[in-house]
Amino acid sequence: MNLTTEPGNPSVPAIRDSGDAPHIDMSTAQVRIAIIESQVLFAKALAGIFAEDAAFVLAGDFRTPPADGVLPGAPDVVVVDLDGQTVDVAQTLAGCARACPGARICALSMHLSPELMQRCLASGAEAYIVKDISPAELVRAVKMVAEGQSYVDPRVAGGLLRKRSANGGKPDIMELSVREAEVLKLIAEGLANKQISARLHLSEKTVKNHVSRIFSKLNISARTQAAVHAIRSGIV
């Protein structure tokens, strides 16, 4: 996808190439945000938080992901509260992805659980946000995701690292070359291919090749899964 802007229409986000995920240039465009929150009161609270920041425009407010069809408003980011949803986490996130094609998904939860975080990332979420943070921190996390990065609660990521360390396990990460491990680390930090190429002084094409080999060796298909592997293996 190439850089596209719509002059004269500031509500249409500028989308730029991030390797494999479109993201928004927040200096020029508002982020269309959809809220999926089972509790009416908290949906209003979330809407209020984003309404206070000019970077966001509310695309919709829903109780659950729709069973079929696409959500109106073409959201760029979906913020979904997993607590109170009546179906499995993977099903909820799959429903969000199906209802909002192309949107990046931020999962909200009350649980400081590394296992749940892993399930969310493996199910396509770009962020795992625990609800005991401040509204300002939520806004910061969602902006990161809108800009093409990922976000996980540092306390949960820390727990995952400690668990991995206690297990002493470093699974298939050992198959990566030094350069591939470097690239994986930067993917886990949320960098796009272009940013990685600048950081490592490589061409973007070379970075893409490294990413393909990493995906192949780790038997994964998404950058978020790569981030999970990086965290599991302790390289970040």
């Binding site: 089972s38 509790q39 009416v40 009161l41 908290f42 209003k44 609270a45 209020g48 938080i49 109780r63 607590d83 109170g84 909200l108 009350m110 609800k131 005991d132 943070i133 401040s134 509204p135 939520l138």
Partner: protein, 130 residues
């Protein structure tokens, strides 16, 4: 001309216990708009602190409590005159009936809106200072 002046009663004092701190500013501002004086908002219940504050209204998020009904019974004993309002993701009516029996004045569920929260915390004719 005779003018009858009645003193304005003090605002009712409210406390909020909610582990999901993300939502607390919204709850605080909603109650304040109704004239309540929110004197405390905390993620966890601290009985000694609550007893000292002695709020007129206590709003408690129960979804993160391990034994919400046990906690509720303790809170009712601690604050016999307070209006205790619970809110929850659960739409289980049977649980709400049980909670009322144990001492809750109202239970705000997932489909309840801001008006429901307000009327649960501030029943008609009970607003003070407004």
């Amino acid at each position: 001309m005779h003018v009858l002046v009645t003193p304005r009663p003090p605002a009712k004092r409210a406390a909020i216990i909610e582990a999901q701190t993300l939502f607390v500013p919204y709850l605080v501002s909603t109650l304040r708009r109704q004239g309540l004086d929110v004197v405390r908002a905390a993620p966890r219940i601290r009985c000694r602190s609550l007893a000292r504050i002695a709020p007129d209204v206590l709003l408690v998020g129960v979804d993160e409590l391990r034994a919400p009904l046990v906690t509720l019974r303790r809170l009712r004993r601690l604050l016999p005159g307070a209006r205790i309002v619970l809110f929850t993701h659960s739409a289980d009516r049977a649980w709400a009936v049980l909670a009322r029996a144990v001492g809750a004045n109202a239970v705000v569920g997932p489909t309840d809106d801001e008006g429901d929260l307000v009327s649960a915390c501030v029943p008609v004719c009970a607003v003070a200072g407004g």
